[in-house]
Amino acid sequence: MSARTQSSGLLLLTLAFGLALTLMPLPDALEPMRPYWVAMILIYWNLEGGRLRYLGQAFVLGLLMDFFTGTLLGQHALGLVILVFLLERFRNQMRFFPPWQQAMAVFVLLLNERIVQLWIILLGGHGWPVWTWWLAPVVAMLFWPWLFLLLDFMRRRQRLLRS
């Protein structure tokens, strides 16, 4: 049981780090391209750790994102719930994809999330986003293998330290 709580500590730490990366200031030109770090970390824990697989967890995480980034309450929650639903649907295939193919799948998931966001943004009366806004899933795809290796390394090391 202590294994679980320890790994929960790491899980919360990585999510907090993802939130910090989300709030971190970026130059105006790069800002729209900021990858959705929290979603990527969630995908990792879902695929490799078997954690964060409930829709309710995704919903709460999304609400937290909404509170911190000042978006409409429920905007990130909606995106993440749909993302986790799709992820669960294709989880067994995705887990055994080679890295580049997994990165492609992450790209598709995040692109779908962007489309959900676009729908809300347009309904809210905020005009079309700049074209670089669509590059965020591409940037996320490029970062995915490295994020995967980093988180895997951290998880392995923690397991070694424990035993």
Partner: protein, 311 residues
């Protein structure tokens, strides 16, 4: 030992129908929450409470950047600092000279006002503020400043920068505050055209470089290049602050009203240093300006004419 997800597999991968049903419930919940947040003010209280909770997180995220900035300031060389000091001193002298004239005008204005028995006397107090190094979602049209309740910031205060109006304070934590920009689609600002004196309302467009004027009469005397100032109606903003410059006017045939676009004079996308204006207005403050968005005729409401800058 290599199966960390034991026990979770059976619980979370129920049959597809059950999962879809749960998805629908959560989607519905999210949509309801968003609608409530967008339409009503039920969520405002929760948000206000949470900005206080979120503040430590903001401070923590910001701290490495503050450290970097202070390090950078420490290694600035002497010559640059001297040059900068000279430049600032010059600009201070110029501003002081200009202020002398303004003081004279203010005195004259008070005298004239006492002659016509104008009752309202707006005292203004300024508070300098800086943007926090936190990127909120660009579609929320809100920025975080480093002044809060501790420094006397209250919801509803006007926020400007050297070029023009920026927005108004929406929520306040102890050491930070969230400012809603005039470009937010929910924001409506009572303005006056400087050349003609025409009063109207400038709505946010959802883009930081555009405001919209939507309820203009067809025969309106308005041209690109005209400057919009705050009208002071609504009592939220002092009258006479520069707001925006008209960029285009359209008179679509078959429509009841002419529409115009304006470019905010304050660089809303790239602001750093701000001023929070505290107005000591007589009587109770009227409702939040965003509420005016739902009811554009609010500018003709006699209760709103407390600022009454027309003779």
């Amino acid at each position: 030992m290599n199966i960390p997800d034991r026990g979770y597999t059976s619980a979370s991968t129920g049959d597809l129908a059950g999962r879809t049903a749960r998805l629908m419930v959560y989607v519905l919940l999210a949509v309801i929450l968003m609608t409530m947040d967008y339409r009503g003010r039920h969520v405002e209280k929760v948000r206000g409470a949470v900005i206080g909770l979120a503040e430590p997180v903001f401070l923590a995220v910001e701290s490495p950047f503050r450290l970097a900035a202070s390090l950078r300031a420490n290694v600035r060389d002497y010559q640059t600092l001297l040059a900068e000091r000279d430049r600032l001193e010059r600009s201070l002298r110029e501003s002081e000279a200009r202020l002398l004239l303004v003081d004279e005008l203010a005195r004259e204005n008070t005298e004239l006002r006492s002659l016509v028995d104008a009752s309202e006397q707006l005292e203004t107090r300024f508070l300098t503020a800086e943007l926090r190094n936190i990127d909120l979602n660009p579609y929320s049209h809100r920025v975080l400043i480093n002044r809060g309740a501790r420094h006397g910031v209250r919801p509803g205060l006007a926020v400007i920068e050297s070029e023009g109006v920026v927005g108004q304070v929406e929520q306040v934590a102890s050491r930070s505050a969230k400012v809603i920009l005039i470009s937010d689609p929910d924001h409506a600002l009572p303005v006056r055209v400087q050349r003609t004196g025409l009063r109207t309302i400038a709505y946010g467009s959802g883009r930081t470089d555009e405001l919209r004027l939507t309820d203009l009469p067809m025969n309106v005397d308005l041209e690109p290049g005209d400057t919009l100032m705050t009208s002071g109606l609504g009592g939220r903003f002092p009258a006479g602050l520069p707001v925006a410059e008209i960029t285009a006017v359209q008179r679509p045939s078959g429509e009841a009203f002419a529409v115009a676009q304006a470019r905010p004079l304050a660089g809303l996308g790239s602001i750093r240093h701000l001023l929070v204006i505290e107005l000591e207005a007589p009587g109770p403050l009227p409702g939040l300006v965003p509420e005016a968005a739902a009811e554009p005729v609010v500018e003709f409401d006699p209760d709103e004419l407390t600022a009454g800058e027309d003779p």
